[in-house]
């Protein structure tokens, strides 16, 4: 009898537990891309760095009646005749879109590399070296400014590569293999967009080339993805090999313009040196303010103090100083500063569960894709629903990510111009429910990123504008709940971000896509 009772209870609990632990991740449920509009005239859209869509030549394709083309179609057929389960998975995965999937891969690389180096035995810190990326500390340390820059270069370059791709598609007008030969199965939705040069391959070419610069230690991972992607396009019946080769070559050429820009955009000098760090501290003292001091142990040099001088996309450096840079924060000796510090102490003292939830939802700290990555994830989910063409995906991602990088630059400019201390430096009673970033407080990076992102995304998808503004507001205030930012940091951060976003909107209005 007892035995039966135990069995009964045990099986009831087992039932409660239900057996499967399988988790279906959001991004693996994205449907195949099926653009409502192919944007066939997209070759006329305004590129970012290219002088024009035909700056790099693409040779005319061979005729679809040529023996070599027929051989390429036969390659598709031979894959399709023996398609494996794994090949089907790859076809489905990549069918969601090239810009989307490579954006996800970027986010993954950022999360992998978003860890601060451990200190040396003497209490100093090592810096990652691009020339020796696999030695500890691995290159890069993909912190928020680094990540914002990486996303921006890749997105902007993808856009230019696709403007050129669309130009040649329209020019040569070669149909996709599934349209040329009815015996080729279309394993993804058919499109009447010309397939030469391949837009997927252009994205692969431009992205892999830029990632050699941005994530030099991850080449194997990146190349495996690229190979899988190209193969998926062939198996899907969407491209013949010459479509891919032309697209990839074009992408690689376009990438070189962006690599050249990146090498000269002053990021390399953004780390600064001891003399500069001391100078910044002394300047704040000379202004009569309490300077920011690292609260890490041992004290860590501030994160990329000269990132505010990195070359921007949407406005020039004079505009940065005259128009974008926020007014000075409340003086560290003012009553307002005291009141704002007390406000943060109160958030710190007894955070509600909801405040902790919000702080953690937006934390995007160590080992994450950073706030710019979070806004890319938010945008991607909405873009999937909008059924954009690859070109429009790239254009929108470029606008978003140029905004995010310029937001990073504007924010870092303010942080190191004012060198304002964190709340927990002023009031040691303040403990944080999220990690304390190792750089000055004013203005909040999350707020600046979010203001910029919400502004440009609200322009791209007006029906979501209110929602984006609410998200930006929550992301901003999450830093007060986490007890790492004052109210002024967050409010001025949002304002500054909105200003940056407005420059992206201005570009969007004239780039030919609207």
């Amino acid at each position: 009898m007892k035995k039966i009772n135990i069995l009964y209870i045990a099986s009831a609990i087992l039932l409660l537990h239900s057996c499967s632990k399988d988790i279906t991740e959001t991004n693996l449920q994205f449907p195949a891309l099926q653009p409502a509009n192919t944007d066939i005239n997209g070759g006329t859209w305004l590129p970012i760095l290219l002088t024009g869509p035909a700056e790099f030549a693409v040779a005319a394709p061979i005729a679809t009646t040529a023996p070599d083309y027929i051989a390429q179609v036969n390659e598709i057929k031979s894959f399709q005749a023996h398609i494996t389960k794994e090949e089907r998975r790859a076809v489905n995965y990549w069918s969601a879109g090239a810009v989307l999937r490579w954006n996800e891969i970027m986010r993954e690389l950022v999360a992998l590399h978003n860890l601060p180096p451990y200190q040396n035995a003497d209490g100093t810190y090592p810096f990652p070296s691009a020339n020796n990326p696999l030695a500890y500390p691995q290159f890069p340390f993909a912190n928020p400014p680094y990540a914002a820059r990486a996303y921006a270069y890749v997105a902007a370059a993808q856009y230019d590569a696709l403007v050129a791709t669309w130009h040649y598609k329209n020019l040569y007008n070669r149909a996709a293999p599934y349209s040329v030969d009815p015996a080729v199965n279309a394993l993804i939705p058919k499109s009447n967009l010309p397939s030469y040069p391949s837009e997927d391959a252009a994205v692969i070419g431009v992205t892999t080339e830029l990632l050699k610069l941005l994530f030099p230690g991850d080449q194997e991972f990146i190349q495996l993805k690229a190979e899988e992607h190209k193969k998926a396009r062939i198996i899907a019946g969407a491209n013949v090999r010459s479509d891919l080769e032309a697209g990839e070559a074009l992408g690689k050429l376009v990438a070189q313009k962006f690599v050249t820009r990146a090498r000269g955009d002053r990021t390399g000098a953004a780390i600064g040196n001891q003399a500069l760090w001391t100078q910044m501290e002394n300047d704040a003292i000379a202004r009569g303010e309490i300077p920011w001091i690292s609260q890490e142990s041992p004290k860590r040099p501030p994160m990329l103090p000269l990132f505010g001088r990195v070359r921007t996309w949407l406005f020039d450096s004079l505009t940065m100083v005259t128009t974008i840079r926020p007014v000075a924060p409340p003086s560290t000796s003012s009553q307002q500063f005291k009141d704002e510090t007390e406000e943060i102490y109160n958030y710190s003292k007894n955070p509600t569960r909801e405040q902790v939830r919000i702080a953690h939802f937006w934390a995007d700290g160590l080992s994450t894709y950073t706030p710019p990555g979070h806004w890319n994830a938010i945008a991607a989910e909405d873009f999937v629903k909008a059924n954009f063409s690859e070109l429009r995906w790239a254009r929108n991602m470029a606008l978003l990510n140029m905004s995010l990088m310029d937001a990073a630059t504007a924010c870092w400019d303010a942080k190191f111009y004012y060198f304002n201390p964190r709340p927990s430096q002023i009031d040691p009673r303040i403990k944080t429910t999220t990690g304390l970033p190792n750089f000055p407080s004013y203005i909040s990076g999350h707020s600046t990123f979010s203001g910029a992102a919400a502004t440009i995304l609200g322009h791209i998808i007006p029906s979501r504008a209110t929602a984006y503004t609410a998200m930006a507001q929550e992301a901003s205030v999450s830093r007060m709940y986490g007890a790492i930012h004052y109210r002024s940091d967050c409010e001025k951060g949002l304002e500054t971000g909105n200003k940056v976003g407005a420059y992206a909107v201005a570009r969007a209005r004239i780039d030919g896509a609207e």
Partner: protein, 314 residues
Amino acid sequence: MKYAYISLVMAVIVVTNTKINAQTDIDGVMMEKNAFCIGPMAGYSSWKNYWEGSLKRENLNLGKVSTTMYSLMGNYGITNKLNVMFGLPYIKTKASAGQLKGLKGIQDLSFWIKWKAYSKKTGQGRLSLFAIGGYSLPASDYTADFLPMSIGLESKNLSLRGMADFQTGIWFATISGTYIRRSNIELDRTAYYTTEMHYTNKVEMPDAASYNVRAGYRNKGGYAELVLDGWKTLGGFDITRNNMPFPSNEMNATRIGINIKYPMAFLPQLSITGNAFTTIAGRNMGQANGFNAGIFYVIDLSKKEKTGSDNSQK
């Protein structure tokens, strides 16, 4: 009433190194029919060094991470061979250095059913075999995603334990093995990185297994014993260099400790328990030392029979 050195809540011990269960889900002792034992416990544990993967290190931005625990535990004898138990701890964490705020709250409510399936005199002693089933679930809406300051790991745990106890005279030894099935948990964020990117708020928690060996002196009223236990997470990943811990890390620990129970001569229903432990090996967890103390009282809930209120063993 026995103190159980390690139990299905070990996952949390591993992290916060405090939760200690003063009940009998892991020893060879049963409550008599209709006897109900209940009492509070308090505990403290702390660590300064921890294992980042297999690398032992300190963290100057955490200093000493400590956990204070208060709990209520109870055990009721349905029959002499079938007991039910519960435990409910309140936990508070603190880091002595750095900026991270400690968290506090009611952690997991645990239940156990303990069945003495077999008991037989063999030679000079008595061999008993037990089966114990346990279940625990969070009793408050705490977050597991703020380690090492989180008060628990949030998963619902189902455990099954087999145990053998041998006593000869006043000496005894008990050995047990446990399998713990852990449910997925949900984070407050929509994406996270383990060894790869995940676009979901759900985290798959690997199951775990543990063993426990204890031996020492035991008479009708009290005991003194040495304990060796181990917890192994069956899967999970290592904390990467200079990263923070994550709930689905491969958390392993081997610990040794001492454990006593002492009945009050003036009131045999009342006893005090105490224990101390230290961690001798681990992975992705703190090298914790700790101690706990509790007071337990046995109430006879039977109407008719008049029994001695101590938790006799046979």
